[in-house]
Symmetry: C2
Subunit: 187 residues, 2 copies
């Protein structure tokens, strides 16, 4: 196998499995350890321990992110319990269809739904029913601002209607009506 091809494969291999030592790599390519070292040097590929460090760092960041973003999608900026609330959600390439770059609907829904849950002054509010409209496609890089407003309450049925309108710049991209169920009694 020519040198160039070996180095290409080395890069790919380490990308998908950064845990391989030079020794293991040398066996895989049936060359000496020194050759592997030279290959890494030329390709600018760091040693095993550095690779693990960066991969591990990535994890720690992701964990913080996913913890945040799973609990409430979007950052809540302002909230008046039982009245209204506002959150922003920055769309990244993680949230879009690869094919056309348009945000997957469930992310917009998730932001709106999370906000509807948060605006209710109730630990255990649940969504019962919802009608939603996706008005304009949202792309990666867009900042989606969701505004939730508590519309009416039926204390008897423990139900509340929350309306959410999401915008990007001046344009409304999403609207939703969320019928929420209150599990605890009001004060």
């Amino acid at each position: 196998m020519p040198k160039k091809e070996r180095q290409r494969q080395l890069g790919l291999l380490l990308e998908e499995n950064p845990f391989l030592t030079d020794g293991e790599l040398s066996e895989h390519f049936t060359v000496s350890v020194q050759t592997i070292r030279l290959d890494r040097l030329e390709g600018g590929i760091p040693e095993l321990r550095e690779r693990l460090k960066t991969v591990a760092t990535r994890t720690m960041k992701e964990e913080v992110k996913s913890l945040h973003s799973d609990e409430i999608i979007g950052d809540i900026i302002d909230i008046e319990l039982d009245k209204k609330a506002l959150s922003i959600f920055d769309v990244t390439t993680d949230h879009v269809f690869q094919r056309n770059g348009i945000t997957r609907g469930h992310h917009l829904f998730a932001q709106a739904n999370s906000l509807a849950v948060a605006v209710m002054d109730d630990d255990l509010a649940l969504t019962v029913k919802s009608t939603i409209n996706f008005l304009k496609p949202v792309k990666a890089g867009d900042r989606v601002v969701a505004r939730a407003e508590v519309k009416k309450e039926s204390l008897l049925e423990k139900r509340t209607l929350v309306e959410v309108v999401s915008t990007v710049g001046e344009e409304t991209v999403f609207t939703g009506e969320f019928y929420m169920f209150r599990t605890t009694d009001r004060k």
Copy 2:
């Protein structure tokens, strides 16, 4: 500081920052490196390189998972393009409210929405409007089976209605109507 307290703090510290060497730790607690080693030994805490390895391993797994689970939430089991499709989604503790253990609505929506997109024989199908009902709370450990059925099409408007019914065991937990927009013309 008593030994016990130091060891407790050591554990907490390394949990949130696994990148610290024994040397750095010894400075932090102003004890010798050897004491740190003994503390790790007694607490069953592995060395830096082992810690990074496990953290990095976790990442690689997560990455595979999130790639899958972001593209389509739930595993598609069966699909007849333009007719019907079926997916399952195993709820874990990651998907529920901490307070009451009930699945966050947007996960059920995401499964249904993904399935509605998938069943359309169209690369770029988008959700336009949707009405959904959360009928029964879903808990961690439940296996949610979503069935999507293409109801009617309006070729002129390029719109299609897809109905999704999600069940856990015998019980229907979620229903949704998804009005989908077809971006490419039918053959």
